[in-house]
Subunit: 680 residues, 2 copies
């Protein structure tokens, strides 16, 4: 017996036409994918998805990720039908400046789980959501109290499956046996270049089987709602993640169905007319939603979700009675709060403490804070013994059958998959319930994940990259492993903390700001080599992003530096002092935190009237914001012993002092405007 | 009957111990992989590899790529044994500053085909080399004249196989049926985090079968030379690319064999001693090479290669007689020359020509130049109808059986695989014979390939990215598709042209410099929207990277701008003129070309004494090199109609003129130092 009636078919076509009308109103967008995917979307939303439109943040809701984000007209249409705060007028404002219906799904919109559009990200984010769910369940569920059991549904297309980031994430998801992850692959055989025959002829199902996924096929995804239903029902029984290959026709119903011409441009007026007629709708009406369709979404989605939310709330109230400690912790996380005084566990150092590599200081910090913060999920893309991202007693996040850990483990072995790791971090963060994921690799290889880092910043996921081996200080591994452009790259992203701490107190400050951040991600660049604990640092000062580390009255010059070049600048200042040149030393470990300070404070650190010289063993691009002249790298690095490489490129106190003295002479008698001063 | 004798075993152990001694001398490096891979390396080099150590650039040589570049001590040892210009003294200088044996393989070293180390790149480069070979063969081979038939051998480890870039490249290689590509997968089950069981449990062979590869297994890669031989011989018969899973023991022979502790640190002295004893060597001797081993490499590699090169030369001499045109073209390419006057095919524009999007101007240029330059191999990561990278009559590079093109086609359908595309570009370029690959995607998605772009710049592969949709001018697709940080990122890389042309002449200049470049890659950022043809542009001027577009006597202000903001600045200058403020307009389409001009020229464009205001609708990071104040983007973009988005962010002539006027007032009476002036 079918699970569906004629009203379901009506609803599917309503969804299709809403999407078409939405794109038509904008005269911009993608009608093809919604026409093909609407049947599967309808089945998932009305038969399976546990969502409460009255409480979009219900923590045990199922997550729905549209990895092929260009099909967003369908998502807005679904959100409208389901009773989220999207009116027909909002659909009519699709892709207009300032509307709540932008051209791709954006994380801050109601009912949108994560920003998608750049292909391959959504499916990888979904892996992160499934990881978070598994960890939450393993941490808090108790007999009779399934606080967490939601599924993550992700729609993706041929495009997503070609991206390497998706391959990485899928391989890891298979390894982790994330059974609550269900991916529905809209296999329409079309990308912008035409048929997938031109470049994508691999056997996708076999590949996913190789990853350890369950694979299923729906032969007629254009109209066989029961087949879609059965596949999803079967997927929910599997103990693996599932990929359902749903064969559809792009632009189903259009006169150009099955071709790439329906992918990225609005349908023509007469095509829309014939489409509406074909589907039994009035070709003269736009944004036409029969009442039965609203009713169906009300009874089969909104009410189900409301009820489920209510039961969960009751269940959680009892849980808090029975497990007061865990319950309070869960509640605290739901409230978006950190434990009181959590930051008292941050290590503090004095200049008497020994010189230590900042990567090692990071490890010591993680050792110190991890037990206070159960929401912290660590990990690394291999390299654990090098980037020191694993606290001593960490348990691995692993499928229990592996014998290597379990889902309550808080250290994720990402494998050598930096890009997926970045996208998974975003997914874990987007899952909510206070999750604070961090992960590690060499700074130079964060660039592999640039696509995901950009989305962290754009969407405001407060995730953390522990990025070690932060300069030519890498030494013998040579220029392939020595970052040059990396900080310039990431500092140019809006809304991203890019820390390069100079010592232990600055490492603690970086983590403090990162962990307390609600909507800004962080990269913390750390050294391989030892650095001294400096006179003049403190967590409080460094948390401002920039501050006067060592001062003199009426300085002739200001050094502004980060990381390993702060102590270098201190040493250079000593040489200058012996030449009667007075230098202030400013440490500027995070530009963004500094930029967010009041102007008066910033100008007190970097005032008018004094030449400012930046010192950083990386590309100087961007330093013009804070300094008049720059000492940095203008070429790639070199393979050799680190101290010799530093010397080779002129990063010694003597050479820095010499350049500083020349800078002082150069500016003598000139009016000097601080780079912070701006006419507009 | 075995193909090997006891001398082969001696040679294998010599290779192992040379690698161990090399790492030991440096007290830094990776002994584990060489110990495991030496048998396979020995078999490939002595039985199969066609290399002429006396002519390392022999164009039909087999290519050997060490994708797991950390095993480079083995590569240097092989190059030494084979008679390349690597002495024992060079091995002893491993990883020392200025030596010819740096910590990872670098492209400019004799016998090193490509820079590797960042995992996943080498295997993807190898796909590019195999593409170049197939194209060269299809273009020039004639009956009786197989000018090109070389194989590309690539060694890779578990790490490379986890990287998404490798997945993308492998999928494409399978689609393209690149039969001359043979990948030898050193399956030792170990990465830095320990056993691959912690994160990498997929079925790799099944995955590669799904991609369309031949897959073979060698059960005992530690000592079964014949099995390795047979597998490679079988691979050479296949009509697909082949992956040979070669099961080995990392650190074979060490007391710590099979563990990650032998991966990245020198072996201890007593371990080396027992290893040498075990292999029948004198534990007191270092860098010990029995004469029989030198003799073996001489007869079984160097002489074979010399002979092969000689035969090829004779063959090519006859070819030039029989096919004078093709022969001359091949010879020209071997000489590294472009056709005489090739640049006369570059389009030239005047201000009377209509406004055209620079992406469209790029397409028109490709239409114009492609027939003159057979070495140009185009392509795109999908998006062809959007980034306009395909000239009208292009034939696709496809396996003939696909019916969609053949190997003489010069347009590659990369699929939605930006990172692999970048690595493949590097491989095509590294192959030599004058190949000039370009490819396209949206500027924002070049970031997916950041890892490969970095290696283009580091290694000096003069490849080209056609990067369209270069700003918020993307419009409705919104912030996920609108670059902000992208140019700041790529401009911070040494040795990378980053063009943002303002009109047709500047587009021609960008391509002229890119195609004539011998060792610098280029990114050409192009608009989606129309731009006017400007008064004051020319190919010659724009080729300098920066120039005075429109001038006035004694300017009060200098605008410096790129791309779409050049015409905006011209319009703003008109408004200022009506207020009696005189503004020069400088176009700065490529910073690197400008930086390479003599100081006198640069200072004539951006002199002391005048405030300079940059205008670019991207992050302002880096503009401090050229301007005192900046108009740019400080947030991500927005979804909306492009002109409205521009207006929303203040990119109108009126707002720019207003900020310019404030800048003039701000600097009145102050000494103004050009940012180009430096005290050191």
């Amino acid at each position: 017996m079918s699970h569906f009636t004629e009203i379901d078919n009506l609803a599917v076509n309503t969804l299709r036409l809403l999407s078409v009308d939405t794109v038509d109103a904008a005269q911009s967008g993608h009608p093809g994918a919604p026409l093909g995917m609407s049947p599967a979307a309808h089945v998932v939303w009305t038969k399976f998805l546990n969502l409460n439109p009255k409480n979009p943040d219900f923590c045990n809701r199922d997550r729905f990720v549209l990895s092929n984000g260009h099909a967003v007209a369908m998502l807005y249409s679904l959100l409208h039908l389901a009773g989220f705060n999207y009116k027909i007028e909002d659909l009519q404002q699709f892709r207009q400046l300032g509307s709540k219906t932008p051209g791709h799904p954006e994380f801050d919109l109601e009912g949108v789980e994560i920003t998608t559009g750049p292909l391959g990200q959504g499916i990888s984010n979904a892996v992160g959501m499934a990881i978070a769910q598994a960890n939450l369940a393993a941490t808090y569920n108790k007999p009779g109290f399934e606080l967490s059991n939601n599924h993550t549904y992700v729609f993706l297309g041929d495009g997503c499956l070609q991206e390497g980031v998706a391959s990485e994430a899928a391989s890891l998801a298979g390894h982790l046996q994330l059974k609550n992850l269900i991916a529905i692959y809209d296999h329409n055989h079309i990308t912008i270049d035409g048929s997938t025959d031109v470049s994508f002829t691999e056997d996708v199902l076999k590949r996913f089987e190789a990853y350890g996924w369950e694979v299923l096929t729906v032969e007629n995804g254009d109209s066989d709602l029961d087949a879609i239903y059965n596949a999803i029902a079967q997927a929910k029984q599997s103990n693996k993640p599932t990929l359902i290959q749903n064969k559809t026709t792009i632009g189903y119903g259009s006169v150009n169905e099955g071709t790439h011409s329906v992918h990225g441009s609005p349908l023509k007026a007469d095509d829309i007319a014939q489409l509406k007629t074909k589907f039994g709708f009035d070709p003269k009406k736009k944004f036409d939603v029969p009442q039965e369709v609203y009713d169906l979404y009300k009874t089969q989605l909104a009410q189900r979700g409301l009820e489920s939310n209510k039961i969960w709330d009751q269940n959680f109230a009892q849980y808090k009675q029975k497990y007061p400690e865990l319950g309070a912790e869960f509640q605290r996380r739901l409230n978006g709060e950190l434990p009181a005084n959590w930051d008292s566990t941050l290590p503090v150092y004095t200049p008497k403490d020994s010189a230590i590599a900042t990567r090692k200081l990071s490890e010591m910090l993680l050792d110190s804070i991890h037990s206070t913060l159960p929401e912290v999920l660590g990990g690394s893309a291999d390299l654990t013994p090098s980037n020191l991202t694993r606290w001593k007693e960490a348990k691995d996040f692993q499928p229990p059958s592996s014998g290597l850990g379990d889902y309550s483990g808080r250290y994720i072995r990402y494998g050598i998959r930096e890009h997926a790791m970045g996208a998974i971090l975003n997914g874990i963060s987007a899952y909510g319930v206070g999750y604070k994921p961090y992960s590690g690799t060499f700074l130079n290889f964060v660039a592999y994940a640039a696509g995901a880092v950009r989305l962290s910043a754009l969407s405001g996921h407060p995730i953390v990259w522990v990025a070690t081996h932060d300069s030519i200080g890498v030494g013998e591994d040579g220029p392939t492993h020595q970052p040059i452009e990396t900080l310039a790259h990431f500092r140019a992203l809006p809304n991203l903390h890019v820390w390069r701490p100079a010592d232990g107190n600055e490492v603690s400050a970086a983590y403090k700001v990162a962990i307390e951040s609600k909507s800004t991600p962080s990269i913390i660049a750390l050294t391989r080599q030892n650095l001294p604990q400096l006179e003049g640092t403190s967590i409080e000062k460094a948390s401002k992003g920039g501050y006067v580390l060592q001062d003199v009255a009426n300085p002739d010059l200001i050094f502004v530096a980060t990381g390993s070049e702060v102590s270098l600048s201190v040493d250079a200042a000593k040489i200058l002092a012996s030449q009667n040149i007075k230098a202030r030393v400013v440490s500027l470990p995070d530009w963004l935190s500094f930029d967010r300070q009041p102007e008066q404070y910033r100008k007190s650190v970097l005032p008018d009237g004094v030449p400012i010289l930046s010192v950083e063993v990386l590309a100087t691009n961007g330093w013009g914001k804070y300094a008049h002249q720059h000492i940095g790298m203008t070429t790639f690095g070199a393979s050799g012993k680190a101290p010799l490489v530093f010397k080779h490129f002129g990063f010694t106190p003597e050479v820095v002092a010499e350049k500083a003295a020349k800078t002082v002479s150069f500016y003598k008698g000139k009016t000097i405007v601080s780079p912070l001063s701006s006419p507009f």
